[in-house]
Symmetry: C2
Subunit: 257 residues, 2 copies
Amino acid sequence: MSPMVKRLSNFINLQPAEVDAVEAACARIFTVQAGQPIPHDPINAGSIKIIVSGMACRCKYLPNGRRQIISCMVPGDLCDTRIRTSRNGDQILQALSRVEYAAIPAPAFLRLCNDHPRIRDAVRWLAYIEEATLREWLVSLGQRTAIERLAHLLCELYLRLEAVKLVENNVCDLPLTQLELADALGLSPVHINRTLQDLRAMQFIKLAAGRLTMMDFTSLSNLAMFDPTYLHLPLSERAENAQPSAQWERSPRADLH
Amino acid sequence: MSPMVKRLSNFINLQPAEVDAVEAACARIFTVQAGQPIPHDPINAGSIKIIVSGMACRCKYLPNGRRQIISCMVPGDLCDTRIRTSRNGDQILQALSRVEYAAIPAPAFLRLCNDHPRIRDAVRWLAYIEEATLREWLVSLGQRTAIERLAHLLCELYLRLEAVKLVENNVCDLPLTQLELADALGLSPVHINRTLQDLRAMQFIKLAAGRLTMMDFTSLSNLAMFDPTYLHLPLSERAENAQPSAQWERSPRADLH
DNA sequence: CGACTATTTGATAGGACTCAACCTCCGTGG
DNA sequence: CCACGGAGGTTGAGTCCTATCAAATAGTCG
């Protein structure tokens, strides 16, 4: 089962025909090595990319050389559903590890959404969640301390990986280097290192060799003031144990554009 | 001429019929006082709001009481074009000054977009720019120093106000208190005060009693590493003097959803 | 005039940065 | 097989930017 199918299944129960349509659209797989940019379009004029394996990020460079990582993409995430122009403002998509991705030409993607309204709705959810995630990162950078930011990011990525079944026994791959964590959180690499040590000393996580072990999610999320609502994940055991967020209807209303 | 018409005119040349349609849709005007929340829907189930005068912001509160201002809205800006649910994650819309706004019920807005494809395209541009602005704020909070952040925000708001003709002789209304600037930039009010004094001492700006005087935009934007491309403003004298950003086609391609 | 909010100033503390060195792990090639 | 080099991670010392606390001043509105 492709990651996009898993991800869309977070929002709708895909019919067999829908699964087939998605799988067919994701047929063309490309690979890039860690650190490489993911080209805006490996096929022709405009394409939507879906991460199949590995992790990628969107980042922006300042003229003084500093880099800000804007967002992270995990398997099942769509990239560029809203990018309308080829020159998207020196924002680039970059692989954080070896990345496999599917590329769907824009026309084929439009067809997929037109032929399957429920898929279109789920894709809209993805775009909406991406924006909400961006806002949550903004809150982190503006209001959270170093250890809270780091804890928050780890909580988020952990749940997002869990949503596409990439967590096993509280362990998942997390290929970010400390330098990349630093650029994502607006901190120095040295400080990331020390803060990471604090989190380890508190017995909240283990993180080494690109693998994250979640030892105490509850404490970590309390420290981070992490409220997973914005991710709109399917209700897992974890979420069910917490207060139910039934306030969120699962079916998106007709969108305004 | 309503601010929404002015704003849309940044992207398309509105025909008389289109102007009329927009003006008609914006007929219902509401007012809130500074500091008040702007209700999600003053009419009925779901409505799009357009700032007519004054400024508003979207903000989020953390459980520890800290507040992050996510974005600022100036006259002509649309709010909630993408908000699909009524419980939008403790994110609230708040007036920064006395605000007049028009509220268009969702069905009427959909009709407006359907009847006038060029208006729909321009509205998409607005949503796209809003997202780009969010990313730019993220870069600010992550990578810019206090004085750079403040300079960047002032540059942005100044140009946005200019785009709707609210700048006269390099002066515009800017009703943000220092506390609000602090919450927008992730800094303490005290530090905002001192940083503001630095900018004044450098003769870059004057800011007092809710009015901003831009004395040296070039120096301010250099200090901020400000690149206005992301705002996609119409080419003004200022922009024409700089390198032309003709790379951006003005007409948005068919969007993917 | 008094109450309130917004701004300003001073003093001190602390969180995060910088610089610099060292260590560890791996893949490469002599 | 081991030396080498490079990338990523770790540690220490010192500094700086920004926060905090506290109090005074200015401005506003009834």
